[in-house]
Symmetry: C2
Subunit: 300 residues, 2 copies
């Protein structure tokens, strides 16, 4: 297999584009896909102050590196979730990358801020860890972006993530979620805007990108995420992708182009949380309710 | 595992209903699911003259048997497609069942009618056999129903078939197909109405039903259907069903209840084919065009 651009030996074969690439032109391909996502979905401009949600995994580090290479001004935010061993190791990866690339990484220690780690919180409020974790991360990312003047939070969600979410929403006909699923979630009352510049790249491509760019990332999955239903959706889609390369791409991009508009985009009415001020559909946001409940159970 | 109705040992465990059944109550369960489909989708009434499209496989024979048991007046139509060995063997199964149950089975030999077998036609017109077969079956079923005064053609499409079709239509965002997919396709210009009374039953349940009822059916798949994409869709859905029983049911039934109405139901304008009179979007229907093309290629 040869590179489709220069004819040198290819290091990766991307079936859905019917193309192989050498290392140099693979990097170029990745950058082009991200630029295309940024422009076609009008995600942001060079004047925006961007905050990358950095987990230390391949997707978020690849995203930060790509933005940096493309000349965007993006700082990173790492949230230490207090997951034994895993959180320390992933923070080290994020810090090592930031140091190497001379980028600004901000770190927040959730346990220091709230008094609880994610496993501790989940245990106390008896919720699924992934659900508690999502709420906590959303809260701290929004708070940090608001208090530090960032225009947009960027996450490393890739094509596999977004196609899996879409499949899950369709299997359950989650009309509201389907109307809202997008690579760009606009700013709302007390909540920052969010964008997903990697929607045109698969997990396999972001992993290969970090390898080619010599980026060291945390390979292990979060120990709390085992058995997550999204993994099943990804496996099913990978099976279909193997049978017909391009399936995931056409499924997600076709939805964004033709399907999405059909679903009621009923963005729920938000008002500021009476406790913290972040947008919520109730009086008190879910983050504040979780912390309150955990503190109550703690003192029992 | 015990029967949920009588407490006797169960012969089948249906995870999505969280229930096991003995042979007697399994039959009752199957009948109830079909009656529910007939009434909730208003498929037909006892006064309708029903024609079952009988292939000799488990689904169509189970359907015919269920309708007969429920007291509906249904005759069968078998189409001999000229597929070597397979067509003869499946016709024998259909005839043996009709004889055993004292039901009326009509048979049409496609090769005698058109001069071509399905493999012969597909070869001559250079189309996919499954596509040619669908067109030919549709033509003869419609013609027979029209000339013999049947109100509705019934097919053995089950929950797996319909969920796989839905998944395929969503993966490609086939808006027109999504707007039309239904267990009941109403009568149109020169085309009979069609209904699918087995949409609430899985392949596994129709297979178990034929075993319990001692119905001998053709187990082998059609030799021309190998590698059909619908098989991949079924496998992906079965994987998800194993992870979360009820997935297929909620996916299809949720679509019919909440999703379908969102898609444009642009039923194409039909006019009678200038050759045969059956409804078509063009001047000459696809069946007549295929036969014409095959005859032309034959004389080359």
């Amino acid at each position: 297999m040869k590179c489709v651009t220069c004819g040198e030996p290819a290091i990766i074969d991307i079936k859905r584009h019917n193309a192989g690439f050498c290392a140099h032109h693979f990097i170029e391909h990745v950058h082009r896909q991200v630029e295309r996502a940024i422009s076609s979905f009008r995600l942001f401009s060079e004047n925006d102050r961007l905050l990358v949600a950095v987990s230390g995994g391949k997707d978020s580090l690849a995203l930060w590196d790509i933005l940096n290479s493309l000349g965007y001004n993006a700082e990173g935010l790492y949230l230490h979730l207090g997951i034994e061993g895993y959180s320390d190791r992933s923070q080290q990866k994020a810090e090592a990358f930031a140091t190497r690339e001379k980028l600004t990484l901000h770190c927040i220690d959730v346990q220091k801020e709230t008094g609880f780690s994610i496993p501790g919180l989940a245990h106390r409020v008896r919720f699924e860890p992934c659900s508690v974790c999502g709420t906590v991360k959303r809260y701290f990312m929004n708070r940090f972006a608001a208090t530090h003047g960032f225009d947009l939070i960027l996450t490393g969600h890739n094509l596999d993530d977004e196609a899996a979410t879409l499949l899950g929403n369709l299997l359950h006909w989650q009309m509201g979620y389907l109307g809202r699923q997008s690579p760009l979630l606009p700013q709302k009352t007390g909540l920052s805007g969010k964008a997903k510049p990697l929607v045109r790249l698969t997990e396999r491509e972001t992993a290969a990108y970090t390898v080619v760019r010599g980026i060291d990332y945390i390979i292990e999955d979060c120990p709390l995420s085992k058995g997550a239903t999204s993994i099943g959706y990804k496996e099913a889609l990978n099976m279909l992708e193997n049978l017909s390369p391009g399936t995931k791409h056409h499924f997600l991009l076709g939805f964004l182009k033709r399907g999405k508009a059909l679903f009621p985009g009923d963005t729920p009415q938000l008002s500021p949380c009476k406790n913290c001020g972040q947008g919520t559909t109730g009086e008190i946001c879910s983050f504040c309710r979780i912390i309150e409940k955990a503190a109550r159970n703690d003192s029992d």
